[in-house]
Symmetry: C2
Subunit: 310 residues, 2 copies
């Protein structure tokens, strides 16, 4: 057996189902840690792997992360640097993320939290809202996860721009880069969406300066990783309506601790990391494809650069 | 002067601006009620016309309603039956309605009210949600106002069907009709959107039987007219989660009276008739086009059948 599955929950029903699907798609047996001989493992499929488990495998050629985030993999300093690393951006993950981001952008646009608060006070208060054509949406992290959202939002009528590692014009979307680019984009955006991985470069990207650069009255949506936000800076900046509303699905510590200031803040909407539900079956097919491609020497579209962090 | 504008608020800034735009587009003077000679008026543009005002004009050829709803026009029994009646479905109205319906459907899909309630209790509770591909959206009133919404929802991945006066297959959307058709559709829909005009046929269309026919756990969204809902039946049916959530933008009486049971109901989200904000400038161009077409003897796309009521 040269393929093995590493997880902190080797006996969970989800993992067992995933294992069955994967073995079926590959047409060969797949071991599950810790029930394996480390000397034989060439390909590791990881889903929140136990610390030190990969280090024990001397012949690893490929580490395939069965989910978008590789930050948990690199949190273990003992992970060997030799093997190729890929992450899986499953189509079902992109679809779920698309549905969630669209929901949050449109709920912010239609002022859901405002009207809910007015209803709680028994008040019939109409608030004027702009047409989508006059609303600038900035998507920070303009990659494969966020791109379909940008396309839908543009079709609905929104003005959509991106911010990413590399500046470019992509399918008519202007994508800027760099710290100065971010601050300039934040000054014009009415709705800011963060779909960023947790890396050294993205850590506390949204700090006091970033929030201060925002347009007063903007909405801020974070569905990527909690580490990109300086929570204290966000809490302080909400008083200035920069942003007017924070819609947060991810946090530094999850579940969000009961004493955290976000819980009771009237300008914060909390979602318990539900932007993209785990679909156990769909990744099996995609992981099997990655392994086939790797063995055939074909390029891997989602190869990870450890220095970059994603 | 053969063209006149009728409104209960002849001195409002919005009406005055609309009047100026209209006269500019038409290139001829437009009178404003009551400052006119009723004998000379051939074309009446109405925006919530005062009762009896049209009856006083014996030479009317055309009544052009400057907004989608003609129910307020027909609420005045003295309105003459001779003139052609048109309503204006302005592109900006359709766009605003599209943005609003998308927001409500997606907010219901992403369980906004559930997570807001959980946050209020300080609870971190994940709820599994289906993918859009497994969610049936039923749009009741599959006309020009609702059609773009259907197209966007299908592009995002939802299953979309319609219910209307005439059964048909329209651009791949199955549209059913009739009472039996409605009850059958309600039994399979996860999200029901009502975008219906207020007519004799639509009055209390959503009654106890209709709500009983719904799938338990469905969401019900009404952005058309409050009269299509039997409020007491809805309140009674919410206990059975049919629907689980009602998102209401329109009501029998507006503003919704303080004592109404909707205000404090935990399963009802109230919006104060803000689905489609009034855009004063855009309708002027469209109304001017209608008048030009009428004078040239060309067909009017939005002519109203008084018997049908829209």
């Amino acid at each position: 057996v040269s393929i093995a599955l590493f997880s902190r929950n080797p006996h969970s029903a989800t993992l067992q189902r995933f294992h069955g699907e994967l073995a079926r798609h590959l047409g060969e047996p797949v071991a599950i840690w810790p029930d394996l001989d480390p000397e034989t493992v060439r390909i590791a499929i990881v889903n929140d792997a136990p610390d030190g488990a990969l280090k024990a495998c001397p012949k690893l050629d490929l580490i395939a992360c069965a989910w978008a985030g590789v930050d948990r993999l690199y949190a273990d300093p003992s992970v060997p640097i030799g093997p190729v690393v890929t992450r899986l951006i499953d189509p079902s993950l992109t679809q779920a993320m698309t549905e969630t981001i669209l929901a949050h952008v449109l709920a912010a646009h239609a002022d859901w939290p405002f009207y809910a608060a007015e209803q709680a006070h028994g008040r019939w208060t109409k608030r004027k809202r702009p047409f989508a054509a006059d609303v600038n949406v900035l998507i920070c992290g303009f990659g494969v996860l966020a791109k379909p959202t940008a396309v839908h939002l543009r079709a609905i009528g929104f003005q959509v721009r991106g911010w990413a590692r590399d500046a470019r014009l992509e399918d008519g979307f202007e994508v800027s880069a760099g710290r100065a680019g971010l601050l300039a984009e934040l000054a014009r955006a009415d709705i800011v969406v963060a779909v960023l991985p947790n890396t050294a470069a993205s850590h506390h990207l949204f700090d006091a300066d970033a929030f201060a650069a925002m347009k007063a009255g903007a909405a801020f949506i974070n569905v990527g990783r909690g580490q990109v936000v300086d929570d204290a800076a966000l809490l302080a900046s909400l008083a200035a309506d920069k942003p007017r509303r924070a819609i947060l699905d991810v946090f530094h510590v999850e579940p969000l601790p009961p004493e955290h200031g976000f819980w009771q803040h009237p300008k914060v909407s909390i979602f318990p990391h539900v932007a993209a539900p785990t679909a156990a079956d769909s990744p099996a097919q995609s992981i099997a494809d990655v392994i086939r491609r790797f063995r055939a020497g074909e390029p891997l579209p989602e190869a990870v650069d450890r220095g970059r962090g994603y």
